[in-house]
Symmetry: C2
Subunit: 196 residues, 2 copies
DNA sequence: TTGCAAAACGGAGGGTGCCTCCGTATATAT
DNA sequence: ATATATACGGAGGCACCCTCCGTTTTGCAA
């Protein structure tokens, strides 16, 4: 992960760079609108490139997805790091989960990507899933360490529960519902004096 | 919903009945193995009928799904009715949710069907979703009436949360994890003396 | 500049699945 | 036995997936 590209080989071709960018933008638009099953040929058309070009840059549908959503994922990671440094642990955890729900509202495609991540044996979603797991992990561990939250739930479990709850909601106004469900869940997470 | 078919028209043809049955069995097998995206032509092949025959009996993929899983859904409905008559309300609710997880373990296809139910604007999954919602509703309302559970979560929300949590788990041993998550959720559902 | 090889382009093509349509076959009723 | 309602099956048109390869463009060296 250190040195990347100082080999005195050739400079990457300008058209290649440009086309890659175009495809990426087109994919963002098309996936946002049509979900993860959208036609790759539609993406190519919209980008104004041949289907072959699309496939050369992104050999699989998954590769394209990952490229599109990597940015969002990074953002969530940063948010977690910020939140981990301040305020009540449980509040911070809840805040991150809420932010996640909100982000899903605008970028529904990522959801699908994550759903697939949990499903298929494809390793390609590893990046997103790992990063997000690490992100919640940060917050979760702090809350556990503070003795405010039970310790038998893993970060991955928590993330899956979150995504699952989002995934199943499509009705108008679903955000409110999901946020409520998240609150219920966080309540359930709390260690409580008299609990079983 | 009363009289169904006493019109003195013709008796249904024997081959038609037989083929319908065959397609249904084939579909059960194929969907179980290959998920909800399995090829309908594969179903037809396995059933030993033409693709046209399949489509005549089940005009859409969804119709076929519904037929396949109606039975499972009915079973869960009955279980809810049984549980509603006995024991602690919260325990009953938890028991039903657990049973659901267990059933999902054997019939993963239903999961996918329900996931689609929440997603697409297709009304065809209404049956499953409505029935199950009614089923949890039974238990949830009883628990709310007993003052043991908060009253701002709907049966549909609860069901979606449940299915979502299942949906996102595919790893070996996922059942244990999901059951734990369900427990956390039910804990969170509880009305508690000092909570916010 | 010019020339040339590496790199990228694009789309034809072979495969598969979806669903419709309609000529043919068959079961039921008279 | 015949008529006719009913069901059958698969060909056909369309869309998508992905690969392969002849053509075009580009960067670099002379």
């Amino acid at each position: 992960m250190g040195q990347v590209s100082q080999k005195p080989s050739r400079r990457p071709r300008a058209d290649s760079v440009r086309n890659r960018q175009r495809v990426l933008e087109a994919a963002t638009a098309v996936f946002s609108a049509g979900g993860p099953d959208a036609s790759l040929e539609a993406v190519a058309r919209r980008a104004g490139v041949g289907i072959g070009t699309l496939y050369r840059h992104f050999p699989t549908r998954e590769a394209l997805f990952e490229a599109v959503y990597r940015h969002e994922v990074d953002q969530l990671g940063e948010l977690a790091r910020t939140l981990a440094g301040q305020g009540d642990p449980v509040d911070a955890l809840r805040a991150w989960l809420h932010a996640n729900v909100r982000l899903v509202a605008t970028k529904k495609g990522m959801l699908a990507a994550l759903a697939l991540a949990a499903h298929g044996p494809k390793e390609l979603y590893a990046y997103s899933f790992e990063h997000l797991t690490r992100a919640v992990g940060l917050l979760l561990e702090r809350a556990v360490a503070a003795g405010e939250v039970r310790d038998d739930i893993t970060a991955a479990d928590l993330l899956r529960a979150l995504v699952g709850m989002c995934y199943m909601n499509d009705q108008p106004g679903w955000q409110v519902n999901v946020l409520r469900l998240v609150d219920v869940f966080v309540d359930g997470l709390r260690v409580r004096p008299g609990g079983s």
